[in-house]
Subunit: 214 residues, 2 copies
């Protein structure tokens, strides 16, 4: 397809597509002559992904380029490519290891992964942004004086594991490795807000069912 | 306890406690004489909640006052008091009902609630911030050209319902209505980030288990 059709089918203006091309977020089309290039469905798919990250995920252009670099790097193991978005998205600050709450929270969360038998996540804990945010949230609760046992998290974690299995099943229904990695990026940017919205709706439903509105 | 002890036990400076008192975020202590007031465990608990909202949730002071007003209003039905935080926290923009994607997404999400049998959430949909964010996220996916059936969300929603049941069970293990409402606020501010972190960790675990790191 020509640039005009790519623009029409994606809803992205030709000026914006040209900008993405210049910034290397979109591979050049197949050059037909000096002024015309041809684009295919892969361009369209990539364009939608770029737009999702920029418009919905508010990911800066340089970061989008970095994420796509990981998504496309087939020298990387698939599990790493699937994690591209999470590892490249804005990160929480490094926890302060001189802080007793942080140290206590880290130990408790490492124990939690042990209890869950999540040995892969445990092995990656020291470099994982997800583990870091869990530690920071746990430390915040302790610092606020809330005394709680990490055991509380076990059933939550098991449900989240089921959610992750749904994620993977959906992804595996898609063919190529490249597409899988793209879907994983979309999942992080677009599906997490839906998950939170569903959680809050479920709370409304369950709370009203239990306590009614009298 | 005196102000100094309240400060020590909460980790909040006396100056900040005095500020919260002036702003009406904390009820005055029992006046003992012209310069001394006495505080109890309820003050301590409320102080921690206020600090959680301000420091971790980044909720503005005026909004904290509004949320606490709902939490404390025992003329409101309990289900409403429990939802105080969600309804008072920063809201997404009102969806544009002239937009075909929004209208389509709203219909699809109403249908989803029907399929799930969430009749209470369905009845509140027109005023629910959670439903609004679900519609906005669904509309964004459609606008980006991702063609998906809302059926995909059914198993996710069922898992989130189980999460909400855990939330309620935890809350019900706490005695008074006031405490329940406080825990619901904390849950929104502090527990949702943990839920997302657990989701991402579960993805790491499951992805590495399936695809390894070769």
């Amino acid at each position: 397809m020509r640039l005009a059709e790519l623009s029409e089918r994606s809803g992205v203006s030709t000026a914006t597509i040209k900008y993405y091309l210049r910034e290397g977020l979109l591979a050049p089309g197949r050059q037909i002559n000096a002024t015309t290039a041809d684009y295919d469905d892969e361009h369209l798919r990539r364009l939608r992904l770029v737009r999702a990250m920029i418009q919905v995920g508010k990911v800066p252009v340089a970061k989008v380029r970095e994420v796509l670099g990981h998504v496309d790097d087939d020298s990387l193991p698939l599990a790493t490519r699937l994690g591209s978005a999470v590892w490249a998205l804005p990160q929480l600050p490094e926890p302060d290891e001189d802080d007793d709450f942080v140290r206590g929270a880290r130990l408790a969360m490492e124990e939690l992964l042990g209890t869950l038998g999540w040995s892969n996540a445990r092995a990656m804990a020291s470099v994982s942004p997800a583990f870091r945010s869990l530690v920071l949230a746990a430390a915040a609760l302790r610092r606020l004086g809330y005394d709680w046992s990490p055991e509380i998290l076990v059933p939550y974690a098991r449900l989240m594991r089921e959610v992750a299995e749904l994620d993977m099943a959906f992804m595996e229904s898609h063919a190529s490795e490249a597409e899988k990695a793209e879907i994983a990026v979309l999942g992080t940017v677009l599906v997490e807000p839906m998950l939170l919205a569903l959680h809050r709706l479920a709370q409304e439903e369950e709370s009203t069912r239990r306590y009614g509105f009298e």
